[in-house]
Symmetry: C2
């Protein structure tokens, strides 16, 4: 936040340009992108990152196999469609991950140019096995677009090792910066398959000219660059593996606490995100009232269920800075409090106690 | 800048939503938009505002008459083309404004659906007579898209009175906020002519759902909303007419100073912007060296010439907060200093003295 408020530099100021170069380098390392990748930040939110990725790889007639395991998988499929793709969907029950065998079968039945899949499905709390999906895609000659909006910086993400061709994310989740920029990365394999981009704002060639060859394209927000640069520096100070482990630890402690309170998570073990916890709303509890209570009494915002999960889950983020023992204990205590106010019986202090035990372990 | 660093609100927080409603209202007043307009901010820079405007009004086969008086008029024409328009260009010598009679003639020769024109051409320092262009367009049944990137908040802009159908701008020039959001406004006449938008991020229907009906679309930067809201509040405290007069006053004082120094502006009187002053580089002066000197010795950034004007002009912004007696006097003094260092003779103190006289008047 302090970086955000630093004095303004012009968008062509040499000091800002140097910071942009460092930001590209740091993003390349954060994505674990292969040699020759182009990693940078789109001047917009994660949704702009999504659209930038699609707009440079999808054109009229592109055959896309879209894995849809929730709201954001559906959005990705929709945007491919808007850019002219012939989209085949692999729909999965909301709350479950894709079985990579289904991708393999679908590609054997009918070829595709691109497979797209969400790594961390923010609407359901599910982690998809993107490495296995990428392998299946490559075996069938397709490239892979991955949405890493809710995973980058919180879950292991190995662009090079997993063979991800193109990926986009956002800044305000596990990266820990304010929203407004969208990190994206194109591997050489994706750069080689780019199409003529209709958009001017999101045209990869123009954005390369801007970020690499310093040719004017738009007036990037210096403030947002400062903040992203600072957040990426903080990630490197913590260490990426340590950061992933921190997200896992607090997720496991939350899962233990919920279980001790008689509550549960929507996805089965092994398919759960560490960063976004989809908590099942117990019968008889008014979920919207609980969220309002959390906000007004504890200044804590929890997401509601989307689409078919409306009213059925709370989406509890433990991301970036907020993946902490403090946020965890505060949430567990606050949840006990708001449930009690609704007359829902939870074993007194059991959640907190279980969380503390888990953290000690 | 202080507003930018205020504590973060979630993008669905009621307090942020209330601030977004006020921002819409303030933008409507700033554009002087007609009843029933939709004014809001695109989550991107001015270029995203440009593209959002075009993407919702232009589709395959749309007939566009593009007035091109410089780099940004050319960009607007290019984006229309990318969105499928059949573009006819009215090119004007860089440094001059369009003669509305040419628009009238061009439309009489061949009809168009849309006329697009830049109000304040940032590349040449020229102000185009957009009210007259809009009248010519309407008489021929076309609607008008106006680029108000370098005029909004600095020059009179009367969307309703002039009959502008759609307009976009940016935040970091005369509005006086950090960059990263793009104010746009669609009059009812433009809302009625919207087309199916290929972009998801810039789809007007989805953006109305988001801003008006609070349906999730993207995670707007709360920080940038705070800063824009604060800047718009500052504009209303100053008063829009007073703000316009302030920009005019400092422009006239700069023009007087330049003239006393034997320098001149590129556009003829009557076609000049108050906000962006295109100063002719005198013969024998190294323009890039002068800019480097201004930056390194006075921490002052001046734009270079673009395209055919490269090396021929400096672009000196007096916009928003920087349209002040302090910035003016500092620039005039600094310019005298860097010119002298290059051995270019200017009458000692004449520029400063002329500026002071003009400010007193």
């Amino acid at each position: 936040m302090r970086a955000l408020g630093a004095p303004m530099l012009g968008h062509l100021d040499p000091d800002l340009l140097a910071m942009m170069d460092e930001t590209r380098e740091k993003l390349r390392r954060l994505f674990r992108a292969p040699e020759g990748s182009f990693a940078f930040a789109v001047s917009g939110t994660g949704t702009a990152g999504l659209e930038a990725t699609v707009a440079n790889l999808v054109t009229d007639g592109t055959r896309v196999l879209a894995v849809v395991t929730g709201y954001f998988g559906d959005r990705l499929a929709q945007v491919c469609q808007r850019y002219g793709a012939v989209v085949r969907r692999l729909d999965v029950e909301w709350g479950r991950a894709i079985d990579p065998a289904r991708v393999r079968e679908a590609l054997a039945r009918e070829a595709a140019d691109i497979v797209c899949v969400v790594h961390a499905e923010t609407s359901t709390g599910v982690r998809n096995p993107v490495a296995e999906v990428a392998q299946a895609a490559h075996e069938a000659g397709a490239i892979v677009i991955v949405d890493a909006v809710t995973s980058l910086g919180g879950h292991p993400f190995e662009m090079a090792q997993w063979g991800i061709d193109a990926v986009y994310s956002c800044t305000q989740k596990c990266v820990g910066a304010p929203s407004g920029l969208a990190p994206v990365a194109f591997a050489p394999s994706a750069l080689a398959r780019r199409v003529t981009c209709r958009s001017f704002y999101l045209d990869l060639g123009l954005l390369e000219d801007y970020w690499v060859r310093r040719k004017y394209h738009h007036t990037i927000s210096a403030s947002l660059v400062y903040a992203l640069h600072e957040a990426l520096t903080a990630i490197e100070e913590e260490g990426l593996e340590a950061r992933w482990a921190r997200h896992e630890r607090h997720h496991l402690a939350l899962a233990a606490a919920l279980s001790a309170m008689g509550l549960g998570l929507l996805p089965p073990e092994g398919e759960r995100l560490w960063t976004l916890n989809a908590v099942r709303v117990p019968d008889g509890v008014d979920e919207a009232l609980a969220r309002r209570d959390l906000l007004s009494r504890f200044n804590m915002e929890v997401g509601s269920g989307l689409g078919p999960l409306a009213g059925k889950i709370w989406r509890v983020g433990l991301m970036g800075h907020s993946s902490s023992p403090q946020a965890l204990l505060l949430f567990v205590g606050a949840l006990e409090s708001v449930l009690r106010r609704q007359g829902y019986d939870v074993p007194a202090g059991a959640g907190t106690s279980a969380a503390i035990d888990a953290l000690r372990g």
